[in-house]
Subunit: 223 residues, 2 copies
DNA sequence: CGGTGGGTTGAGGTATTTCAAGGCTCGTGG
DNA sequence: CCACGAGCCTTGAAATACCTCAACCCACCG
């Protein structure tokens, strides 16, 4: 059987363990801080490092030539990102808030992976996890309505970062919109609509803390 | 460095070579035929086999509970598909036309991959290739106009199956629409529009043979 | 305190979908 | 051999979901 780091939220934390172990033998992963809004790496730049979020949050995105932006994923605490097996990055990565990452050289990882099939399979598992996310997201982008997209997004964030019943989003409405293939106004309207339905509420000065009043009804809206 | 089966169209053929070699030692890949429209495997079914298209074409798709469909990819001659590293398939696969596939047991592949890091890296390369396609497709689905989507689709098909300047599409308009997140009418209108611009023409009784009159101008429309 | 960076809400515009009709090709059966 | 229906494609007209543009609010900060 394939080594199973176990699907989603779980996998990344365990994968961290794995990466940590690898590195123990060969490299000491170093930490680095990026302040809000700064670029960690750019699309098409050489992919020399692999990163793990220690604290904060990261968005990775692609741009069309005229500036339209598509956020491919958000990386939260524990997530590993920037792992490519070609020489260059396929996305730009930016810190959404002040963020600390742990990083290790790609080449070290490659050296180990060439010798140890299980390590290579771990990399495969991580890549598959990303692939599965992308596949699910394609379905969302191609076929879901704006309300359904926002619902799916909230459930994803709930699963990945909720403390109790409050989802403390690190990203702004525009980021959410660019992740979901919508405009920020449409996202805002969908959230207001869900609030109007009594499914969620907002908290805090900023509207980024979302209270899940009725997770069951929210889940019903997710197809 | 990672073993490089070399990115897209090329990779799959070479990967075939690799798979062939693996199997020579352990299993004899057998062939199987599926007639037009029949299911090869279903979403969430156990993933016991890995397939390669010998002749014909395959679509893989997901459905929402109410029947909305999203085609994640088309697999053409030479392509390997059905490779999962979890136990179940994440898509349904169907033959678009009468199709011959070569198949091998997943378990054989796994056994080899656990012993040979290079084989595991080959699997990683194939998975990464799928991931890259999915990432590009997300951008298309999230941010491109209907015309841009159709243009990108035509260029993809041109790259993957053109003989001379004629693209002989195996799939119907509805399949294209479900791949691009549009309706079949919108796809048809976009194609008519491109014909009106003198960029392409139709051939044959059916409208599935597309003549590329001006590839350069078509490529200009792809952002 | 004024400015800036979010966020919400409204009104109007538009790209795409939906609904509907019609054409062409092919296979089948009278 | 022709008629007929099924499948697929195109095209038009109307409906609509989402976008665009604009105003406004609020919190934060120099």
């Amino acid at each position: 059987m394939f080594v199973n780091l176990n699907a989603h939220s779980g996998s990344r934390l365990r994968a961290l363990g794995e990466l940590g172990e690898l590195s123990r033998a060969r490299v000491i992963p170093s930490e680095f801080k990026y302040s809000k809004g700064t670029e960690i790496y750019g699309e098409a730049e050489p992919a020399d490092y692999v990163y793990q979020v220690v604290d904060g949050a990261v968005r990775i995105y692609k741009l069309l030539s005229d500036g339209r932006r598509q956020i491919g994923a958000f990386h939260l605490v524990g997530d590993i990102f920037g792992l490519e097996n070609r020489a260059v990055h396929r996305f730009t990565a930016e810190a959404i808030v002040d963020t600390t990452v742990r990083l290790m050289r790609r080449s070290s990882l490659e050296n180990v992976a060439e010798r140890d099939a299980f390590v290579a399979l771990d990399l495969l598992t991580m890549t598959t996890s990303n692939l599965q996310h992308a596949e699910d997201h394609m379905l969302l982008l191609a076929r879901k309505t704006s309300l359904e997209r926002v619902v799916t997004f909230l459930l994803e964030m709930d699963r990945r970062l909720t403390a109790a019943n409050v989802i403390a989003l690190p990203m702004c409405r525009r980021d959410i919109a660019d992740y979901l293939g919508l405009t920020l106004e449409t996202v805002s309207r969908a959230l207001s609509h869900l609030r109007g339905m009594g499914i969620l509420g907002f908290l805090g000065r900023t509207q980024r803390e979302i209270v899940l009043l009725d997770r069951a009804r929210l889940a019903e809206l997710d197809l």
